[in-house]
């Protein structure tokens, strides 16, 4: 492996550590994922097209994209608000609240799923107040948005928080001393510096929502064509022993997540350059 080294060093163990890393990564990640693509590639193109253009599949992709987009947008706005309040203001219970922001990462998704369903069901703590207005939260598309907002909540907060902390207050002071209003300073000075972090958080939250399963299955109601997300459709196909269907939908889904991941990486590269400049 030494030929891969760009610079010699006295630190030992390069061959051993890199060899083990590559071996383990191949066994656990690369080969299983490659298996999925090989399996779906074995199908004729016509069949792949047929599987992916079935109305039920198209409807579930549309639903997944739309609800993920709405949830990520909600997280964009409220994530910025929460990050702002946590960084800029002092109030009692702040560090407790700061620690709790990561709850959706730490709480198993199945627990989140049954809890949100119970809260938003017709007789639930929140659902009972929505019922008189004819709003059906659980077992509807709104329920999916609620679950996806919950699981994506920490992303924007955690990407924006460190950038906001490092923000040089002098540029804001300068803008104020030159007579700019609060809103003007926020939109013209602060916001432009936060955009890369905001977009990264948005994309991460969106990517997480696309593949989410545990929290969604309980609250969605899972009606084909109406409230059936893609990850649930994959499971349904698998339970029907329709391996070709499950594999093809999964491969399409995976390709989309990789595109989102690529965008996230470009955004982070852009944000590093942005901060360096």
């Amino acid at each position: 492996m030494a030929f891969l080294l760009k610079r010699r060093t006295v630190v030992p163990g390069f061959g051993l550590s890199l060899g083990l890393t590559v071996l383990y990564t191949c066994l656990v990640v690369l080969i299983p994922l490659a298996g999925l693509f090989v399996k779906s590639w074995a199908l004729p193109w016509a069949e792949i097209g047929e599987i992916l253009s079935a109305p039920r599949v198209v409807a579930s992709f549309k639903l997944t994209f739309l609800t993920s987009l709405i949830a990520a947008s909600l997280n964009l706005v409220f994530g910025l608000l929460v990050a702002w309040v946590l960084v800029r203001y002092r109030f009692p219970g702040k560090s407790l609240l700061d620690a709790l922001v990561d709850l959706p990462f730490a709480l198993p998704t199945a627990v989140a799923g049954i809890t949100l369903t119970t809260l938003y069901a017709r007789n639930g703590w929140i659902g009972q107040y929505l019922e008189p207005y004819g709003i059906k939260a659980a077992y509807s598309q709104l329920g999916i948005v609620i679950a996806l907002t919950f699981i994506g909540l920490p992303f924007v907060v955690r990407t924006v928080q460190p950038v906001l902390e490092d923000l040089d207050p002098e540029s804001e002071d300068a803008a104020y001393s030159l007579g700019a209003g609060r809103l003007q300073v926020f939109t013209k000075v602060v916001l432009p510096l936060l955009w890369p972090a905001l977009l990264t958080g948005f994309a991460l939250s969106f990517a997480r929502a696309l593949g989410e399963y545990g929290s969604v299955v309980f609250i969605a109601g899972n009606m084909p064509m109406k409230t059936e997300v893609v990850s649930l459709l994959i499971v349904t196909r698998l339970e029907e022993y329709d391996y070709a269907g499950a594999t093809t939908i999964a491969a399409a889904m995976l390709l989309m997540s990789f595109v989102v991941l690529l965008i996230v990486n470009l955004l982070q590269w852009w944000s590093r350059r942005w901060q360096a400049a």
Partner: protein, 291 residues
């Protein structure tokens, strides 16, 4: 749990609080943030415990003492006891290779390590069904030799290892990169061998970051639902982990029992958050003490 948020948390500095907003704007924004977090975090958290204790402590304990609940707890502990050490060793080895050496293809390797973060849990289970299931690549061979992986414990372990694969490596790589290799080179030039250098120089430097990664990895290993659900086959008392047991109870309308078991997982989540906060604080005070 994605690495993005957690990496930065380890090297955070105390914020500078200086604002120009009026008092009412501050109060309004704070209240709005509280409202959002209250609705999405505090209320669900309260609901878990309230629903679990709806019929009193005795019903709560009965749900936890059920033989099926006990076997779910045992299986969850077993799976974590395999997946976390496996990814711990991998995390250390991978971060040693990536942080201490400059080599071609490093970026590709890092991207590959990050990959499981962006794969849907359902797909993480599916890929192992495609390899080891009856219709899978190795299915016929496994059946001939009477080895069961899918709908059995090995499948659950494999899916969990895949899902939690990046956690520890993702914490250690930036930490070890920021520490460089000066201290290791000094130890080596003074005559220490490679293992001595690792155990006496590197490991003490990364111990808190390592623990941080282990805690996050463990929380995910014990709480994973989607991937495990696909490979488990839901055999009661046999291949049910705690999250799967919660699902079964809930689908059988045993709501109190479901939330009682769920509250165990919620306590695990809260303990994880508390330990995480303590470690962040510890790392910060240590890095400030260093010159």
């Amino acid at each position: 749990m994605n690495g993005i948020g957690t990496n930065t948390a380890l090297v955070k500095s105390q914020p500078l609080v200086r604002t120009h907003e009026s008092k009412w704007a501050k109060w309004g924004l704070t209240l709005l943030a509280f409202g959002f977090l209250g609705l999405f975090l505090l209320l669900p958290l309260a609901a878990i415990f309230s629903e679990g204790l709806k019929k009193g402590w005795s019903a709560y304990w009965t749900a936890l003492k059920e033989p099926e609940a006990i076997s779910a707890i045992k299986l969850t502990l077993l799976v974590a006891a395999i997946a976390v050490p496996a990814n711990l060793v991998f995390g250390i080895v991978a971060s040693w290779a990536i942080a201490k050496f400059e080599f071609r293809g490093k970026q590709i390797l890092i991207t590959l390590i990050d990959l499981p973060f962006s794969v849907s849990p359902v797909i993480s289970g599916l890929i192992f069904v495609l390899i080891f299931g009856l219709q899978g690549y190795l299915g016929p061979w496994l059946r001939e030799h009477d080895i069961k992986i899918i709908f059995a414990v090995p499948g659950i372990v494999l899916a969990t290892v895949f899902i939690t694969f990046p956690f520890i490596a993702r914490e250690l790589i930036p930490l070890m990169e920021s520490q460089g290799r000066d201290e290791e080179e000094a130890a080596l030039s003074l005559g220490a061998n490679g293992w001595q250098t690792f155990f006496l120089v590197t490991l003490p430097n990364i111990k808190w970051g390592l623990l941080y990664g282990v805690i996050l990895c463990n929380a995910r290993a014990m709480g994973e639902f989607g991937a495990v659900s696909v490979v488990s086959g839901h055999i009661r008392g046999m291949t049910n982990t705690l999250p799967l047991h919660v699902e079964i109870l809930y689908n059988e309308y045993q709501f109190v029992a479901a939330f009682a078991v769920a509250s165990l997982l919620a306590l695990l989540a809260l303990a994880t958050l508390a330990l995480k906060k303590i470690l962040e604080w510890k790392v910060r005070s240590e890095s400030e003490a260093r010159p």
